[in-house]
């Protein structure tokens, strides 16, 4: 008897991720990323209040390659968490909870987050 052909119960590592699962995980991941980003935001304010010498060190750190990667990442995290947060608020009213609707809104949120991030850096540049 060949055991390999038997069906396995679905598990996180073996079945195709539904897009709604990706958006759910991303919501939490971007939230945690922004909790860390909040430290840098407060650092920006506090270092500005601490005088030009301290502020220059802050600028030096954030003006590095890693600094710019983090800033782009936090801008995406913000626009993703914002878009998907609005999706959650719509769900709170009892709307959009059907499977097809949730899948469609998941793709909408993914596209919106990329477009908003691109628009942000376009305005900034």
């Amino acid at each position: 008897m060949n055991n390999h052909d038997r069906p396995l119960s679905p598990h996180i590592s073996i079945y195709r991720w539904p897009v709604t699962m990706v958006t759910s995980i991303l919501h939490r991941a971007t939230g945690i990323a922004m909790a860390a980003g909040f430290i840098v935001l407060v650092g920006w304010l506090f270092d500005a209040a601490s005088g030009p010498e301290v502020y220059a060190k802050f600028l030096g750190v954030m003006n590095s390659t890693l600094g710019w990667i983090l800033l782009v990442g936090w801008s995406y995290a913000f626009f993703y968490h914002l878009s998907n947060g609005i999706r959650h608020l719509v769900w709170d009213t009892g709307r959009g909870l059907e499977k097809e609707q949730a899948t469609a809104s998941a793709w909408f949120v993914i596209v919106a987050s990329i477009v908003l991030t691109a628009a942000f850096w376009w305005v900034a540049s």
Binding site: G31, F46, A48, A49, P52, V123
Partner: protein
């Protein structure tokens, strides 16, 4: 939610729709559930989230349109009264929203009871320190300028 009146019985249980409920009358009235905080966490997340959608978009727009991030430019931006007020609201609301979110993540993933309590304490203190540091910095620049 069952809104109609139950029939109170001598030993403290209550008949709801003809079925005996094991929940105490006080527990039913308070509506706090097993976690003892009712809907306050959920509701606080929504209140702070809606505020952050507005404050966050203002901040993103401000950063994107700021002429530069040199020391004089940053101080001029932060100390401008309307900006200082909105930065205060942003910092306080973000500390609150971030605390609520990190709390759920800790409760979900940290299973050891002692480590969970320690992490929740650390997170709460850290968020208070961050909020206080932001408030101090904004007021110092806003009032000092």
């Amino acid at each position: 939610m069952v809104r109609h009146c139950g029939v109170y019985r001598a030993h403290g249980s209550i008949l709801v729709g003809g079925v005996m409920s094991l929940r105490s009358p006080l527990g039913r009235v308070l509506g706090l559930g097993t976690a003892k905080d009712g809907t306050s966490h959920w509701w606080g997340q929504r209140v702070s989230g809606i505020a952050l959608a507005v404050l966050g978009l203002w901040f993103a727009w401000s950063l994107a349109t700021l002429s530069g991030f040199s020391y004089p430019e940053a101080v001029a931006f932060i100390s401008q009264p309307v900006n200082a007020l909105l930065l205060l609201l942003l910092s306080i609301t973000m500390a609150w929203h971030s605390y609520l979110g990190v709390q759920v993540v800790i409760e979900d993933y940290v299973h050891s009871h002692g480590l969970k309590i320690a992490s929740l304490l650390l997170s709460r203190y850290a968020h208070v320190v961050l909020a206080a540091a932001a408030i101090f910095a904004i007021l110092k620049l806003g009032i000092g300028a």
